[in-house]
Subunit: 271 residues, 2 copies
């Protein structure tokens, strides 16, 4: 393992950019190779087996760049495919669910924690399991929000439609005594301002992006795998769908120009 | 390894209680065995070899309780003895310095980070090293505060003397553009209110206690070592010095009665 090898980050689309941005900020020496599977987003409504197959295909693609670590920066893929990917590669594989759960347990005072995510993530019960495994007394309120990812993939972060969609999806969560809300989908930090407005200013929004970047930092530092030297890394981005929208969202979110390579899947993508 | 075995937490005195409290809060199923070496506190001004010997002696003592993990909840001991302890036991050993450093990198916006700690910790350069290893562009301002630990060990958290000591020790840090200040000694969270008042409300105080508890949670969950079941654990506390002061501070800080066993060191303690 060569410490200058990149970190591979993958997602169904642009959501994993929230993790990539935090990795860039917290670990400025690390080079990133990023894959957004925009042609097949959203993953949330798909069958777990299909999500696992898609995740394997992306890992197969990124592995040619010889990453030292893989970050599954998609909650749905983490819920369904993390263990399988861990079993087939011999480098550390980090998901986004347990870091987010632990962060929420570190922040909550009332012990009442909300979780919003895709249907796949919420139905998997992965957050509830991760939370209750650690702390038997927390109360978890989960809500699937299938309409949020499409808003983000279209770059529609702050419109009236966005506000109305979010209000009608999670406005009722205000009636619970929760003090922390896990953004259990890496797309949701794009919508954080509106989500905060809808749930009220006193709720801690827990972004798995921040926490996952911290986890990446933990592993690299503890295992002596941090990149060294003064070279500024040049990141590489890949997306399977229409490149212009991806590039526009990525550059806006990351605040810099990116080098983007479109990828066309060679196999039928039904599922 | 049996998951119901306790977590051993050790410190030169009452400082590690800040870590213990967070472990109790974040991991309510876990049983703790805690050792405060109050007879020999503070460790800060001591020779590194003496600190390492003391740390080994405490580990030798706690190991009879068959812990599944050891937390060196003392920055000075982490700086000098962490690697040696890791080499002699076959269970995970967690220190407090790298978690604190990573938390600061996750919070800073300006990239200017302050660190306060004992002479031993500050002179070791351990925080500077941990920060710069990850992020070459941060600017680190360090200040040794030898007078703080004795204030805490005497239970003197908020007096005028405390305020004056803190103001004259770190008041000048306000002139730097730092936005985050690492409390690089587990005793300092006892003084957090006064420290915040002295450095101003806009500075993020980074407590290694919170972050270390999160790291403990990471390791236990990722390695399948979390305690299970519904039994409420009964923690055990040991201290080498005068038990009454330790008990009073511990019960006040933890908000519950504790079971305390005084320990008398059998060997000469010069050093």
């Amino acid at each position: 393992m060569f410490v200058q090898q990149p970190i591979a980050i993958l997602d169904s689309g642009v959501g994993g950019l929230t993790v990539a941005r935090e990795v860039m900020r917290q670990l400025p020496r690390e080079k990133i190779v990023y894959f957004g599977d925009t042609a097949r987003a959203p993953y949330g409504p798909r069958d777990p087996k299909v999500v696992t197959r898609f995740t394997r295909e992306i890992v197969d693609y990124l592995i040619q760049y010889r990453p030292k670590m893989i970050v599954i920066a998609c909650n749905t893929a983490t819920a369904f495919a993390l263990e399988e990917i861990r079993a087939i590669v011999d480098i550390p594989v980090v998901g986004v669910i347990k870091p987010g759960a632990r962060a929420a347990l570190g922040r909550t005072i009332t012990g009442c924690i909300g979780v919003i995510g895709t249907e796949g993530t919420i139905n998997s019960g992965a957050y509830e399991h991760a939370l209750l495994e650690i702390s038997p007394n927390v109360h978890v309120i989960s809500e699937a929000c299938p309409l949020f990812v499409p808003l983000v993939e279209k770059g529609n972060f702050r419109s009236l439609q966005t506000y109305e969609t979010i209000r009608s999806s999670i406005g009722h969560l205000r009636k619970f005594p929760m003090d922390s809300l896990i953004l259990g989908c890496t797309h949701y930090p794009f919508l954080a301002d509106v989500i905060q407005e809808v749930v009220g200013p006193d709720i801690n929004l827990i972004s798995s992006a921040d926490e996952t970047a911290r986890e990446v930092s933990n592993i690299l530092q503890d295992q002596g795998m941090l990149a060294r030297g003064e070279v500024i890394p040049v990141h590489q981005f890949f997306c399977s769908g229409e490149p212009q929208m991806f590039k526009s969202i990525a550059q806006q979110w990351l605040g810099e120009q990116i080098e983007l390579t479109p990828v066309v899947w060679q196999v039928p993508q039904i599922g």
